[in-house]
Amino acid sequence: MSHLHTSATALLSFNQVTVALGKRQFGPFTLSIQPGEQVAILGPSGAGKSTLLKLLARELTPASGQAQFEQRSLHDWSLAELSRRRAILPQSHEVAFGLPVDLVIGLGRVARTYDPQLSSIVQQAAEQASAVHLLGRRFDTLSGGEKARVQMARVFAQLWDVEQGLLLVDEPLAALDPGLQFSLMEAIYTFASKRGHAILAILHDINQALQGFERLIFIKHGAMVGDYQTPHVTLPLLEALYEVRLASAVTETGEVIVAPSLKQVAAASLQIVR
């Protein structure tokens, strides 16, 4: 728990936030996200990662604790105001009625009552998400990867002319092939770093988290169990998080790759060196 920031400069800060869903308690979550920071949330399935993201996105109301966004209580923001500062890339991509792709992307900006740049922003956001060739098509005729691109373009359009906003990402790439995952993640980095947006992403892929994110938050049994700068993350920490033996290897280019150990060797002795 080494990550201490003064919350005065934080983009988003949670202090002892809890929520109850049915009989399950989640939290307390205490964390703060700085502008421009790139944070990954890791943890086993059902640990409460999505619940944390829903709290951060204001889909859920905390039972206790303080949630602040830009020094204002998260719940004092109107949804329209909030939508101009933060966007969420969802896990599922379905859109009813087969709306045209252009309209879906433009819906990212539906909360703006006066938006003269709309069509040019839709075009540019589509370019950034490599979805230009999909403009003019119906959303329900697209493949899974194409839907992901369009949803991403929608999120880009939402924060296109915003600086230092927040991008919440909910395992959007889990079902896609590796090449596509890579190019979509690249598009998110490029888009966010150009504007100083912070990224907070739930990830399943440990390697993606280690290589692409500067800070990792560990969630287990509905609570935060770790908050580390990526270089401080060790194999035993990850093994404890997932309760699985892990092995690591270093590629020719010096990247560290982590994978579940197939042989039950004492992998705990290996250290991740980055």
Binding site: A57, R58, E59, S78, L79, A80, E81, L82, S83, R84, A87, I88, P90, S92, E94, V95, A96, F97, G98, L99, P100, D102, L103, V104, L107, G108, R109, V110, A111, S119, S120, V122, Q123, L135, G136, R138, R154, Q158
Partner: protein, 348 residues
Amino acid sequence: MVKSRLFFSQQLTHRPAWLLMLLLILGVWAAATMGAVTITWSDWLAILQGDDEPLSGGAYVLWHLRLPRILFAVMIGAALALSGALTQGLFRNPLADPGLLGVTSGAACAAALTIVLLAGSGIEVPVALRYWLLPATAFAGAVAVCFILDSVARWLTADSIAGLLLTGIALNALAAAVIGLCTYLATDEQLRSLTFWTLGSLAGANWALTTALLLALILAFWALRRLTHTMNALALGEAAAAHVGVNVRALRVRVIMLVAVLCGFAVAWCGMIGFIGLVAPHIVRLLVGPDQRRLAPLAMLVGAILLLLADTAARTVAIPAEIPVGIFTALLGAPFFLILLARMRRGS
């Protein structure tokens, strides 16, 4: 590239609007000339001149019977189609129709209860209030069903159209039972007015109702201007709609109120006319796509044309007798619904 495409789509979207408008005007004219009494050009001239002398013959029929009835059909059709388009947008599904979901039978049930219970209790309702009493209770019934659907179906079977339609079936059955009970308790005179609800008819049309309905439609249209684009965002799903800044709960309540007002008016004055709300938005979606900003107004036009056709058929097929228009729309709509189901099955 974007510019040229937008221009192209504008052409496409404007042409259907004008064509439909033209079709509607032609339809109104054709419907006015059809019927037991022949209408001549001089009759049109007579009502246009607006002399003080009382109208006679064809001109009388045209002004006092046919025109109010035709305009009433046009506006009820528009109201039903709009409520269908809104319901489908709200529940994110092209099969959601106020009739199938039990909204119209909820309204009819409330109206039936009003007729029977009010007469049973012996309370004398002032004539001026009578026009408004049934719409008000029908509205209450429609609102009740909408909120039950919205909460129960959401709670029992979240996000499943099957669950929504099944809840609709249950509510329809419940409403039918209450209406049945009312028929059982009703006197002969009440029975005649009750039959009217279950079949649906536009025979009650007059200028006063037509004007009132026109006002209601203008209000609905005004409310629509700001609703339609946020309703597009609902297609993303409720969570994502909130993420892009739409206050989903407020939007839902507003849409439900609008649907209930439209259904309440339609049911109170013309009984249960089914399937217009299902068919009209679907035709428009085939013509111009699912963008609610175009869908809602164009669905109103198509609904107007459809109900005008059905009502003209109902008036003229068996002159001098008249067939309830609800029978025609059901004959037209039920097969259409089956085709829709088959298409959806193939699509998914």
